[in-house]
Structures are given as C-alpha cells and as structure tokens.
C-alpha cells in the first residue's frame, strides 16, 4: 500500500522549479537516478518483510481451542540466519559501488582551476557568501557581484566556492543538485549544471533555499536562480561590468538616489552598493548589492516584487525577516519611501 501511494506521489505533485523529483541539471539527474535505484531496492526489501509478516499474521493467530496448545520451541536456524545476513550484505555491497563512485564524481572540482591557452578560466566560478538572511554571488573572474538573484548560463559546469560570514548556512537549489554547507571557517567547493531544456520548461527561474537552521528568518532565506543561455548571460555580464548606474529619468528617482546616499538617519550606501563592481573588501559589504535591482524577481528574497513591498520592507525589515541585521524599523515619510522605491526600481543594467 505504501509503495502504491509512493508511486502516486512520485509521479504527481511538486513544482518543477523546486522539486528534487523533477531534476533540471546533471547533478540532480544523477542523484534522482540514485534515489530511484535505492528506492526500488528498498521497496523490494519492504515487500519481502511485509509478505512474511502478513503470512505470519494470517497463519499463526491463536484460534479458539488453541488456549492450552504449546507450539514447538525453536531455538533458531543457522541456515536461515546466514541467508538473512548474507543477502543484506550483498545488497549493501551493490549500493556501495554507485555510492562511492558518485561521491568522488560529484566531489571532483579540479575543473575550477583549469584555464585555456590564453590563460582564461575555462569554467565559470561563483563565490557564494551566505549572510544572515541574504546571499551574495561574486563572479571573481568577471569582477562583478550580485545578491539574492544568481544568474548562470545553462548547459555548462559552474563551480561554486561557498562560505558564510556570520553563522552556518547551507546552499541548496533542489531541482539542480544536492546541497553544500557554507561554513564559517573554510570554503567548500562543488559544481552544478543547468539543463537548457529543463530550464526553459521551468521558466528559466529556479528556487534556492538555505537548508541549515540559521536563526529566526531561516525560512525566508530564499534566493532565485536565473538560468539563461550563454549569449544572454554574456550580455548580462557586459551590462553589469559597465560599472555605471543607469540614467535616472524621473525627479522622484533622483530624489531617491539623494536620499539613498545622504540620508543621515540610515545611510543606505554605507552597506549597499548599487553597481556590480564593488571594490570594497568582503567585510565592508554589509548588505546585499543592489545592482540590477530593477530586474529582481523578489523583494527580500521571497516577497512578491511590487513597489508596495519594497516600501514596506524599507520601513519595517524586522517584520518581514525577523532577526535580520538591517535595522528594526525606520521612520521614512511616505514621499521618502516612494522616492527610494522609485530609485531602486530604476536600477537596471538592461531592459
């Protein structure tokens, strides 16, 4: 019965941008195969046990007239005991082969340092830095930094350096591949690959999660992954590299920019950069980089991208992500909030 129900759940439910059962990349694909393999083996084990169990229950119940019957007291059976020792050993040996092979396969990050004839790195490397409730993605070879939205090209291996700057977190994009912790003391490395077709099906947008308890807003420490073609990615990179803020078209946005930089209550610029080329050292990058904020898909990683949400977030970050390190609440006037939101929404590197 359980197996039947399982089959039902395996085929249905789950969302393509989140579910590990609908893999959209090489790593997740292999892990899914491993899941199916071990699931089938374990289902067989379960069936065997339950079959014996049902037979026992049907055949050997105490019936009327049995009240004083004493069954034969069997001490055991060497042969049977050997059988059910040997079979599990064989099953486990069988499962060990793909386990060990894939452990080393997934753990192979030598490609990270590989360079072509001109000395350019062959693969894209992203440094992921997890913070109390936001993610920073640095592309060291491209000289750009983004936050919250990870942008990657599809159809190639992408290597990640992972670490945390305050407490331990864990970096996980379920439909693309298994997770890896971001430790506070040393970087971890692994790779992922995004399948172009599957990315297309999922709307080029995947959901990432923090998988390690990190405090009150652990549940809201989401990020988005835009998986786009290499061409599109290169265009995006060029835009980000320009190191210039877009022209501001409205007075309101200009006013917002001024407020952003010169406000004496909370000077936003002291934590948040607005261009992707942020030369400051890591320790000085206290808040998410806001470059290309106008193209974000979510506010604060999880809220719907609307002007109202941006305004609410600026005014009351504590309400949306308790325990975050921004500030508890601000007392901006409505006009000020409007201007700030307008400014932030106009931060776009490309239309």
């Amino acid at each position: 019965m359980f197996i039947f129900i399982s089959a039902l759940f395996l085929s249905g439910c789950g969302k393509p941008f989140l579910s590990t059962l609908q893999p959209a990349g090489e790593v997740a694909q292999r892990q899914y195969q491993l899941f199916l393999l071990s699931f089938s083996v374990m289902a067989i084990v379960l069936i065997v046990v339950i079959t014996i169990y049902v037979i026992v229950l049907i055949r050997f119940r105490r019936k009327k007239g049995d009240e004083n019957k004493i069954p034969k007291q069997v001490a055991g059976s060497h042969k049977l005991e050997m059988i059910w020792t040997a079979i599990p050993i064989l099953i486990i040996l069988g499962l060990s082969i793909p386990t060990v092979y894939l452990t080393f396969y997934f753990g192979d990050v030598k490609g990270m340092e590989r360079v072509d004839e001109q000395g350019n790195p062959e693969h894209l490397v992203v440094n992921v830095r997890a913070n109390l409730y936001w993610w920073e993605f640095e592309y060291p070879d491209l000289g750009i930094i983004t936050s919250q939205d990870l942008v990657v090209p599809t159809g190639e291996k992408i290597y990640f350096n992972l670490k945390a700057s305050d407490v331990k977190h864990s970096f996980w994009i379920p439909s693309i591949g298994g997770k890896m912790d971001t430790n506070t003391e040393n970087p971890n490395t692994f790779y992922l690959e995004f399948d172009p077709e599957k990315a297309d099906e999922a709307g080029n947008l995947f959901y990432g999660k923090c998988a390690e308890l990190c405090g009150s807003s652990h549940a809201y420490m989401d990020f988005k992954v835009k998986a786009i073609s290499r061409d599109e990615f290169d265009r995006w990179v060029r835009g980000m590299q320009a190191d210039e803020e877009p022209e501001l078209t409205t007075d309101l946005a200009m006013q917002g920019k001024q407020l952003f930089e010169e406000n004496d209550q909370f000077s936003c610029i002291s934590c948040h950069a607005t261009t992707a080329k942020d030369e400051r050292p890591e320790a000085a990058r206290l808040g998410p980089n806001l470059a290309d904020f106008g193209n974000r898909t979510r506010v604060a990683g999880y809220l719907e991208y609307t002007k109202d949400n941006i305004k609410n977030w600026i005014q009351n970050p504590e309400e949306y992500k308790p325990g975050n390190l921004m500030y508890e609440e601000a007392n901006f006037t409505d006009e000020e909030l409007e201007a700030l939101a307008e400014y932030l929404m106009s931060l776009k590197v490309q239309e």
Binding site: Y207, A211, H218
Partner: protein, 629 residues
C-alpha cells in the same frame, strides 16, 4: 518500610518517593517524570504542526517557532524517551536477572533527581523568557549567536540531566555484570536485559563527548572562552563532530532497549522462545559497536571531503545488516507460534513495518551522494520520526501496557488500549509518511513557515491532521491510566499467562525485597522452564536467610537541588556573554555547589549500613517472593 498495605497520608507518600532508593519506586518516578515531559514535548509538537497547517500562518512568531522545535527535540530525546526507557529498565531489569535491587541504589536515586532537576531547569526557560532556539543539535555558530539566555538553559540543563543519565548507565552496567542470579550466564540473559546492557555501555562512551562539548559551549557563552569563535581561532565544525559522536550512538541508546522490549513482547504473545537468540545478541552488540563508527553521516554536506564521505557512507549502510537480522528473527519467532493479539502485541506488530520503513530510508540517507539532496529536509524529519516513534515510542507504549500490571498490580483497559493504538498508528503514518515527499519536493526542515505556490500546502495540512490524531490517542491513554488507577482489581503474578522471564514469577507489584530467596537459573526463559515442569515458582538457589536492604535517604534530592541552584548562579555570572551579570550570581553559584559537595561529603563520612530483614519476618511474610513454596 512495611509491606503491610496501610493507608498513609499524602505527605508520607510524597516523602517516601522523595527519599526512596528502591528501583521499583524509582521506576515510578521515571515514568511520571518522563511522562510529564513527554506530554510537554507533545504539546510543543502540536503547536509546531498548527503553525505549519497552512502557508505563512502567523500562529507562532518565527522566534517562538524556533524555540518550540528546539525544545520539542531536546525534551523528547533527553527528557522523555530516555527517562521513560529508564523507567522500564528500572522496573524490570533487576527482576529479570533475579536481583534484589540495582548495584548502587543511592546512585540510582541520584540519577533520577539529576535528570529531573536538569529537565525542570531546561523548561524554566519558557517561564523566564528565552527558550533555546538553535535546534536540539545546537550547532556552535548559531548557538553562540543566539541572544538571551536560551542556549544557557540548554547547556546547563543538559549538563545536569546528562550527569544523571551517565550515572544510571554505569549503574545498570554494574548491576547486570554483578548481580545476576546463580546460573544466569550472559547467554541466558533476557533480551531486554541484554539491550539495556549494551545501551548502558553506549551511554558510558557517548555521554562524555557530549559533556565535554556542552562544557565548551557553556564556557564560550558564560565565561568568555573561544572554543567555537572562528574569529578568535576557534572552530565550529568540531562541535558537529563532538555532538554527533554522542548524537548518533544516542539513537541506539534509545532504540536498542526498544528492540529489547519487543524481544520480550513478541515471544510472550507468540508462545515461542525468541528465534535465533544468539544472533540477536550478536546483532545487538554489532549495532552498538557500529553506532560509534558512523557519526559523520550527519555531516555529509559539511564538506569533510570525498574519502570521509565514502567511508562513512558504507559504514552507515552496514548497520542495516544486524538490524535486518533482528527483523527477520522476530518474524520467525512468530512463525509457527500461537499469536495472541493483545495491546502490547499490537504495538509490536505496528512496530515491524513502521520501523522497517524508517530503516530503509536510513539506508537511502547513508548513500552520501543522495544525502546531498535529502539532508536537512523533511525527508530526514520523516525518517527519524519513523525510527523514533515507530521504534522507541511504540516500544514505550507497548512496554507500558505490558509491564503496567507488574509495576502497579493493575491492568490497563484492553479496549481503550486498542483505540489508542489505532488512532496513534494511523495518526503517525498520516503525519510522517507525507513528509518524505515534502522533503523531496524541496522543503527544508526547521522552517517556521513556507510560501504558497511551492507545492507544499496540501502535504503539510495532511501532516498536521495526523498529528492531531496522535494527540487524541495520547489523551485516551491518559484516561485509560486514570481509570486503571481508580479500579481496585488486583492482578496475579503472570497476568498475560504466557510470561517467560523471571519477573512474571513475582507478585504484581513485587514485594519491596523482590525475591525472598535468590532464584536459580537453568536456561533462557527461566520462568517458562519452571512452568513447563509444572512448578508454581522459581527454584531457589540459596536457603532462606536475612535480607540486607539499603535505607531511604533524602541526600540524592539535595545533591541535585544544589546543582540546580548553582546553575542559576552560573548563568547570571558577571562574565556571561549576554551581559546581564548579577552581583548575587557568584554567591548563589558557591552556595549551590556547597550544598551539592557538602552533601556528598556528609554521605562519605557518615556510615549508612542499611538494615536487615530478619529470617523470621520472612518466614512469617505471606508474600511468596517468587519462590516455589
């Protein structure tokens, strides 16, 4: 100290329990102490499931939610499951091996009171504001970051109750090694005694690492040391190692005695001896041993490297072999038997498929590359609840029904027992089966909420409904206990009629000195052998003689109380990280420690030689004390 059942005042009964060193009374204390915390942990679980009933439900704040699941885990593992197992061990193990008490009755009482005061201290966190909020694993970077005194309640409370557990574990080891009746070789020991023995040795080796690491964390937070502060050269991964070197064996500390209980229930109600006794013993030892070799499977995603992950993956899967041996041995015990379905047997029957499901998902997680996907998701939550509820809680409930007549001399209602079982069993599978899939669909564990539109809504709702069924089942169990307590009907020695081990030869409940004469053991299932030969009781090994008994004492209570007081002093010491040091803290710390160590000093100086029950009183005593006479 009279065996005459005279009516006594409430105060006298209370005093009796505060000072008792009798293993049977301590078993009652553990049962009610552990039962109390079990209810507390259950309420916490229900609050968690209410919050997760629908997406972005604001029933609990995020902070409260984190405190809730931290306390749920900590309470259930340290303050409910283990003490409840200790209750059954205390009640039964000395009887099963033909002993008059445990080896160190004073320490046995001390173990209980340390557990109890530690548990109370931990739960006072709710009363005074900040409950621990870094998960029951309390990973170091987060637990150092945690504001308020929550984590300090955790470290101090766990430390105090941990001492109690360690003391009890050592006590059982000494008891089982030294106090077996003549003729009871190791290979004639009942399985519950065997699993208690192995679980106790796991306690002996697993608790010191916990004690050490919790001390480090406590010192970091309260005295300003830097064991885990990365910026000062500390290392947080070391906490993970320490914690899991304790934490993994802990699973077996819980589940081995559960196996033991089922190994008593299944043969009893199948009317057959345990199939493959020696392979069961071997499997138990092997599980205990391997339990120490696999801690890093909790850390596959920590980044220990390919070699470590591969080795620990294979070692982890290896545990399935001895566990499989046990499952098949139980099935073959029933094969060819005359199975009577009573409430304890129902729990055993419910246990087999449930636990196998928990076991197979365990193997799946042992596959390291697959665990990269499963780790820290609801799949894990589902897995360990299948193991801990499907194994340990079923054993506790089944064991409680099974041994209730032996412990209290009264039966629990079978009818209410059936209802409890059915509701609990359905509720359990409804709650946790779907959680495997929630994990696979991308739901991380320990999230205070989830967003709509991610495909997680329905599964969570099903899960919450199941939790309520379990809650109702527990309420019916409580009603059952109350009804049974009020009833006057007493039961015989062997109320299940097919009792096999020595405890069933004794009155229910046994007289305070247990066996009038130490019994002689002629094989596995001693009482069964005697019954088959038509004897009405056990064959005595020695002639009737004076019995030496220990005196009751309040000292264990006072020693534990002293540590409880000292803990407050420690928490508010001026060096603490929270910065709310109080001037009274140091004196309180010193007074508390003086109470503890002063009482210990008095105990060492003052001779307490106990007393003797003279032979004449024993011959006049109407109680048979297990002997065939």
């Amino acid at each position: 100290m009279s065996s005459i059942a005279a009516k006594r005042s409430v105060g006298a009964v209370l005093w009796e329990y505060l000072t008792t060193v009798d293993h049977k009374k301590i078993a009652h204390l553990y049962l009610f102490g552990g039962g109390f915390f079990f209810l507390l942990g259950g309420i916490e679980a229900l609050l968690i499931r209410i919050q997760l009933l629908k997406p972005q439900f604001g029933f609990l704040s995020e902070e409260t939610f984190n405190e809730m699941f931290t306390m749920h885990g900590t309470t259930m593992i340290f303050l409910a499951a283990m003490p409840l197992l200790f209750a059954l061990m205390n009640a039964i193990v000395p009887l099963q091996i033909g002993a008059r008490d445990v080896a160190f009755p004073f320490l046995n009482a001390l173990g209980f009171w340390l557990f109890f005061f530690g548990g109370i201290f931990l739960n006072l966190a709710w009363v005074f504001g900040d409950a621990p909020d870094a998960g029951w694993t309390s990973y170091a970077s987060l637990s150092l970051f945690s504001e308020g005194h929550g984590i300090d309640y955790y470290t101090l409370g766990i430390q105090i109750s941990g001492f109690g557990t360690l003391i009890s574990g050592i006590n059982f080891l000494a008891t089982i090694i030294n106090m077996r009746a003549p003729g009871m070789t190791f290979m004639r020991m009942p399985m519950f005694t065997w699993t208690t023995f192995i679980a106790s040795s796991l306690i002996l080796f697993a608790f010191p690492p916990l004690t050490a690491s919790v001390f480090y964390l406590m010192f970091d937070r309260l005295l300003g040391t830097n064991f885990f502060d990365v910026t000062a050269g500390g290392n947080t991964i070391i906490w993970e190692h320490f914690f899991w070197i304790f934490g993994h064996p802990e699973v077996y500390i819980l589940v081995l005695p559960a196996f033991g209980i089922f190994s008593e229930i299944i043969p009893t109600f199948s009317r057959k001896r345990l199939f493959g006794y020696s392979s069961m013993v071997f499997a138990t030892i092997l599980i205990g041993f391997l339990g120490f070799m696999v801690w890093a499977h909790h850390m596959f995603t920590t980044g220990l490297g390919n070699v470590a992950n591969a080795i620990f993956a294979v070692a982890t899967m290896a545990i399935a072999v001895p566990t499989g041996i046990k499952i098949f041995n139980w099935l073959l015990t029933m094969w060819g038997g005359k199975i009577k379905i009573t409430v304890p047997m129902l729990y055993a029957l419910g246990f087999i498929p449930s636990f196998v499901m928990g076991g197979v998902t365990g193997v799946m997680q042992g596959i390291a590359p697959l665990d990269y996907q499963l780790h820290d998701t609801y799949f894990i939550v589902a897995h360990f609840h299948y193991v801990i509820i499907g194994g340990v809680v079923f054993a506790l409930l089944g064991g409680a029904h099974f041994y209730w007549p032996k412990m209290f001399g009264k039966m629990l209602s079978e009818k209410l027992g059936y209802i409890t079982f059915v509701l609990f069993f359905i509720g359990f599978h409804l709650t946790f089966f779907i959680q495997h899939f929630l994990g696979l669909w991308g739901m991380p564990r320990r999230v205070a909420t989830y967003l709509p539109g991610q495909g997680l809504d329905l599964g969570n709702m099903i899960s919450s409904i199941g939790a309520f069924l379990m809650g109702i089942a527990v309420i019916i169990l409580l009603v059952n206990i109350v009804i049974s307590t009020v009833k006057k009907q007493k039961v015989s020695n062997d109320p299940w009629e097919d009792g096999r081990t020595m405890e069933w030869a004794l009155e229910s409940p046994p007289v305070y000195y247990n066996f009038k004469q130490t019994p002689f053991v002629r094989g596995i299932d001693t009482y069964w052998i005697e019954k088959m030969e038509g004897n009405k009781g056990l064959t005595p090994a020695k002639p009737l003689d004076d019995i030496h008994m220990p005196n009751n004492t309040i000292m264990p209570f006072i020693i534990s109380l002293g540590l409880f007081i000292a803990a407050f002093g420690m928490m508010y010491n001026p060096l603490n990280q929270v910065g709310d040091g109080k001037p009274w803290a140091i004196p309180v710390l010193i007074i508390g420690l003086c109470i503890t160590f002063g009482t210990m000093l008095i105990r060492s100086i003052k001779d307490d030689l106990g007393y003797h029950i003279p032979k004449k009183d024993l011959t006049d005593d109407e109680h048979k004390g297990g002997v065939a006479s």
